[in-house]
């Protein structure tokens, strides 16, 4: 546990120190929130939603910032590999699983902080939280998204030589995961074939879980969301640590 804490501590220190990254990663969610939220709020009618379209996409935007921050945190081990720091950790008498776990928990922590910042900002813009327990339900789902996708990032980074492939991963993996997740649209009104695609996307369950926590309504039963997302998280940690174990420098 000491080792996991050590690695976690480093991730969090680095995160807090890089102010530009912190502010930079707020840009995109805020932009989407303003453009989509205020832009479409008057045109889109959401049946059964008291808070309108803005209220609807808020959980989606929060998931997005958790998703992006965590994948990026996982992929960051490529930098460690390139700048040599990974050697320092790998040559120490600790197991690779502990290192991987520390990275994952560290990445998830920064991702959840990022999500909470967005959540805080959205409160200023008029979002109303359903109730206090719901707020903690949302945090649990944010944590699961954070853990799963940091592990996912580590898995990818373990197979990548350098940052060249990063753009590819962003465009062909991360954006589709976000786009298909029902973060921006209600999945019930989709044509059947797209709907089944969204149900294959693990992030859908994260978005729905957060939505349930914050707004009190969701299209997928929160227990199902929790089950699927937890399963996915465990799977990703296993895959990530397996690939990380085989990393060579």
């Amino acid at each position: 546990m000491d080792i996991v804490y050590t690695i976690w501590l480093r991730s969090v220190k680095r995160y807090i120190r890089s102010k530009s990254r912190l502010i930079g990663s707020l840009g995109m969610p805020l932009f989407l929130f303003l453009v989509l939220g205020f832009g479409l709020n008057s045109v889109v009618v959401m049946p059964g939603m008291e808070q309108g379209y803005i209220g609807f996409i808020m959980p989606g935007i929060i998931s997005m910032s958790v998703l992006f921050t965590s994948v990026f945190a996982g992929i960051q081990i490529i930098w460690d590999k390139q700048f040599g720091f990974l050697k320092e950790t790998l040559v120490a008498p600790v197991s690779r699983f502990e290192i991987m776990l520390g990275q994952t928990v560290g990445g998830a922590t920064t991702a959840v902080i990022q999500g909470l910042i967005i959540l805080g900002l959205s409160l200023f813009m008029g979002l109303e939280i359903n109730n206090i327990p719901g707020f903690f339900v949302a945090i649990i789902f944010m944590t699961l998204i954070g853990l799963a996708f940091t592990a996912f990032g580590i898995a990818i980074a373990s197979r990548m030589e350098d940052m060249h492939g990063f753009q590819l991963i962003m465009n062909f993996v991360i954006f589709p995961i976000f786009g298909l997740s029902g973060a921006l649209f209600p999945i019930d009104s989709l044509p059947e074939w797209i709907r089944s695609l969204t149900l294959l996307d693990p992030l859908t369950y994260g978005v729905e879980g957060i939505r349930y926590g914050l707004l009190g309504t969701s299209q997928i039963n929160p227990a199902v969301s929790f089950g699927v997302l937890s399963g996915f998280t465990i799977l990703m940690v296993i895959v990530g640590s397996y690939l990380f174990r085989k990393i060579s420098i």
Binding site: R10, R14, R17, G84, K87, A92
Partner: protein, 328 residues
């Protein structure tokens, strides 16, 4: 007991044999140098001994622990300064040290004491709270050495410790490494391709070329193999000169190279006049003639027939080709 024992160690990358049947042992408290050009297999050897890379065959032990069966104990026994930098630039020097201490499970009170002590030792204590990205190359190197010592390793691995440092910093580091070995009795294995470095620091030196040890002895004995002083003659008619003077008495050895002739001889000053006389009697032009005390450069030339610089140019090309082939 030996600090390091290596027996028939082999490492292959595809068809290329980077380390070819290496055997040697290092005594406790010894400073041992692996000297050779880039691509000779030094770093690969270090990687295997530090459990970072499994050998293709053969065996080795560090501090009595097998590098394959007892990796954890090997890792606890060694401190490493890698050839490439391995610090976190976004952390301060103190935090880098602290991270290391925690990884090696050093209890908090000892950890803090050790960090202070070591940072003072490498003269970085005043700057302990500065981010490493503001450090110069020499400061980073010193920090890495301090970090490698924190868990009190029995064996210290230094992979090209002074590569790319200015002469002043190099000297400083040499003194420091020497002190470590004498005062703390730490066994040190270091790789270098600077002859003077190996000469100054190491008790024994293994000259390694193309993955094989071609000579292993004290620096003194290696130099004696050449036969005393070295006279280097550059002449357009090398072959003629070679046959004219080869039968001269007192010459310990004489070698013909691409651009020069080297002669190993005791008390070279006495014999120079004689050599020049022979040359002029045979109408052979001498472009330049120099006498020097033998360096390890001469030793390398003696054993391989090439200077380290020639070898370097070749092996760089070779490494590049291997890397390209590996990508395909």
């Amino acid at each position: 007991m030996y600090a390091i024992e290596v027996e028939n160690l082999v490492r292959k990358f595809g068809d290329f044999t980077a380390v070819d049947n290496l055997s040697f042992s290092i005594k406790k408290g010894e400073v041992f140098g692996l000297l050779g050009p880039n691509g000779a297999g030094k770093t690969t050897t270090m990687s295997m001994l530090s459990t970072m890379l499994p050998p293709s065959s053969g065996k080795a032990s560090v501090n009595g622990f097998d590098i394959l069966k007892d990796q954890d104990n090997v890792r606890k026994s060694i401190g490493i300064v890698f050839q490439d930098q391995s610090l976190d630039e976004e952390l301060t020097a103190y935090e880098n040290m602290d991270f290391h201490g925690r990884l090696y499970r050093i209890p908090k009170s000892t950890r803090q004491k050790k960090i202070t002590e070591l940072l003072k030792l490498v003269e970085l204590y005043d700057k302990k709270d500065n981010l490493v990205k503001t450090y110069s190359g020499g400061m980073r190197r010193r920090l890495e050495i301090a970090r490698g010592l924190m868990h009190e390793p029995q064996v210290l691995f230094l992979d090209e410790p002074t590569l790319g440092l200015d002469p002043q910093t190099r000297n400083h580091l040499w003194d420091y490494i020497d002190k470590l070995n004498k005062e703390k009795g730490i066994s040190i294995i270091l790789t270098t391709h600077y002859m003077d470095e190996a000469d100054k620091l190491c008790h024994r030196i293994a000259i390694i070329d193309k993955g094989k040890i071609i000579a292993l002895d004290t620096s003194e004995n290696l130099k004696n193999d050449i036969g005393g002083d070295v006279i280097t003659i550059i002449s357009p008619e090398r072959d003629d000169l070679y046959s004219a003077i080869r039968s001269m008495p007192d010459i310990k050895n004489i070698e013909l190279h691409d651009s020069s002739i080297t002669i190993g001889i005791q008390n070279a000053e006495k014999h120079v006049a004689h050599i020049v006389n022979i040359a002029s009697a045979n109408n052979i032009e001498i472009k330049s003639l120099s006498i020097n005390k033998p360096t390890l450069e001469d030793v390398f030339l003696h054993f391989t027939g090439r200077t380290i610089r020639e070898e370097e140019a070749n092996s760089k090309d070779k490494m590049r080709m291997i890397r390209k082939a590996g990508r395909r």
